[in-house]
Amino acid sequence: MNGAKESLIQRKIKFLLGQPKPLIYGVLMLAPFLVLAALPSVFAPHSPLAILDKPFLTPSGRYLLGTDEIGRDLLSRVIYAARADILTSVSAAAMAFILGTLIGLFSGYIGGRLDTITMRTVDVFLSFPTIVLALFLIVIFGRAQWVQILAIALVMTPSMARFSRGSGLVLRVRGYVEASRVSGASTAHIVRVHILPNSMPTLLVAASVLSASAILISSSLSYLGLGAQPPDPSWGNMLRAAFSFVYQAPLYGVGPGVCVTMVAGAYILIGEGFRRKFGDNQGIIGNTKNLGGV
């Protein structure tokens, strides 16, 4: 009995270790940030808002990253910032993914005039620079977090739609899809049962790239002063502050900067892992390089 159980665990470990390297590294890199975002109060040594000590203290045992311009603990602020940044970017990426995938798959599968109209609309949206369009939407509809999420989702949806549309186009002429159509299946059924599952490998790659873009866009917006409002910390607004005090405290921005880069990098690694795992048998994975970013 014991041996069988062990071998099951061993098999599970073997399965996990057998995944592509980038996928493993990516998940390992992302996981701590997700934990920090979920439970900042457990890991942060101090309050992110409390003024504890002198400003611009260098890193020490008590303040691992030092203190900021009014003497708050930088490490705690970086940890609490993870919550806002990751929540915004993950929700925006999820929305863009679902919306873009639906629009794209149906448009690509149905084709014809609908496809032309959809793709021209996508062209129009893609003509706006991402950050500028997001800025425009946020200033008009307010600075609330949900407006931010919607704005980021909206600027990323068109490229996701264009990408998944390619998948729909490729799959519509596959034998099993045609067979299903001939036997009278509805469009919704075919997209749900055949097109979506078969596009999933490429869509997962796209989702990773999308998530990376989302964290870069959301931190850019908070850098520009449109994300979390002070005194609440976000990686973007901390980096903004870091820039103003670059002569007094050159290392101020290292924490938030490394965090944004690592989260975005983790997503890219996960995407690369999926790419290797699933192979490029559809001939369309390569297009993910074109997914919008900053």
Binding site: R120, F128, V132, I140, L216, S220, L224, F243, Y247, G253
Partner: protein, 338 residues
């Protein structure tokens, strides 16, 4: 069609007609997209909370409430705000086409303000693309031609890192190294070229690098995989078999073929550069269009934002169009296909 004008015979080749047709088609598409972009901008603009008249005339602090009332009334009529939305759109479009974007928050003409910010942005954007192209060419060839795996790995690793680094973090690193630690360069600011050209250049270096480094990384991805693909094609094997020197094979056969797909990417980046410029100009206090957009958004100067958004979207569409034409001219295969 200037490529091979009919000097040999007066007949126009079928492929030239096909190309003209496809160009015309692309041009019609361009006009359509531009029209739709303007419509979308107008719709977002008219969704602004508060009166659009206020947005157009600014706060006008010099007027008494009665006078203001009168001005608002006459402007409402003049702008056709009592008319249905679609008529308002055409009125707005007519003014925009005549170059009238109304006034800014402080009562300046929007077109004047944007005009004064255009040159620094164009300078920064253009130099960054040039640096990006040259840099990626050097880096790709280094990774492609080197005998050492470690060099190739180091290049690939650093390129991937640059790709995921947000511009404001990269900019901060460059400032920490170049300005605060080594004291070589100024951290942020701007000096007119006419005032002091060397200072002007010194202020340019860090923003240009911050914009160019991610571009180098992006172009590298395409160029390097293009080089690898081209190396495996039959004409390269054939050239090598004929005893052509390795140098000539790389520069005359592999590189031109690898560069083709990269042209499209360069065009796309050049068009969407404004997103990067928005960040980098804000980071380095560069007085360009990108910083203007951020500032106008902060003070809710809708007219300026709308004008800037339209301008950047148009330039993106036009650049994409031009890149398309260049691609068709450069690559004989796309010509034959169409």
């Amino acid at each position: 069609m200037g490529m091979n004008s009919p000097t040999r015979s007066w007949r126009i080749h079928p492929h030239q007609i096909a190309m003209a047709k496809s160009l015309l088609g692309r041009f019609a598409q361009l006009l359509f997209v531009m029209l739709a972009v303007s419509l979308l901008t107008f719709l977002i603009l008219s969704a602004t909370p508060g009166n659009i008249v206020d947005a157009r005339i600014g706060p006008l602090p010099n007027f008494s409430p009665e006078e203001r009332e009168r001005i608002v009334e006459s402007l409402t009529k003049q702008l056709g705000l009592d008319k249905p939305l679609w008529q308002q759109y055409f009125l707005w479009l007519k003014q925009v086409l005549q170059g009238d974007f109304g006034f800014t928050y402080q009562g300046l003409k929007v077109t004047d303000l944007i005009g004064s910010r255009l040159w620094p942005t164009i300078e920064l954007g253009f130099l960054s693309v040039v640096t990006g192209v040259l840099g990626s060419l050097m880096v790709s060839l280094l990774a492609f031609r080197t005998r050492f795996r470690a060099v190739r790995g180091a290049v690939q690793g650093s390129m991937t890192l640059l790709l995921v680094m947000p511009a404001f973090w990269l900019g901060l690193i460059l400032v920490i190294v170049g300005a605060s630690k080594l004291n070589w360069l100024p951290a942020a600011g701007y000096v007119e070229f006419s005032e002091d050209k060397w200072e002007h250049i010194r202020f340019l270096i860090l923003p240009v690098l911050t914009l160019a480094l991610p571009q180098i990384a992006l172009f590298f991805r395409y160029l390097y995989s293009g080089l690898r693909d081209a190396e495996n094609s039959a004409f390269v094997t054939a050239s090598r078999a004929r005893g052509i020197s390795e140098r000539a094979v790389v520069y005359r056969h592999i590189l031109p073929n690898a560069a083709l797909p990269t042209i499209t990417v360069i065009g796309l980046v050049a068009g969407s550069l404004i997103s990067g410029l928005v960040i980098v100009e804000t980071v380095f206090s560069w007085p360009g269009l990108g910083a203007l957009i951020v500032k106008s958004v902060e003070v809710k100067d809708y007219n300026t934002v709308a004008a800037a958004v339209l301008l950047t979207a148009f330039s993106y569409v036009v650049v994409a169009f031009i890149v398309d034409i260049i691609y068709q001219l450069v690559d004989p295969r796309t010509r034959r296909k169409s």
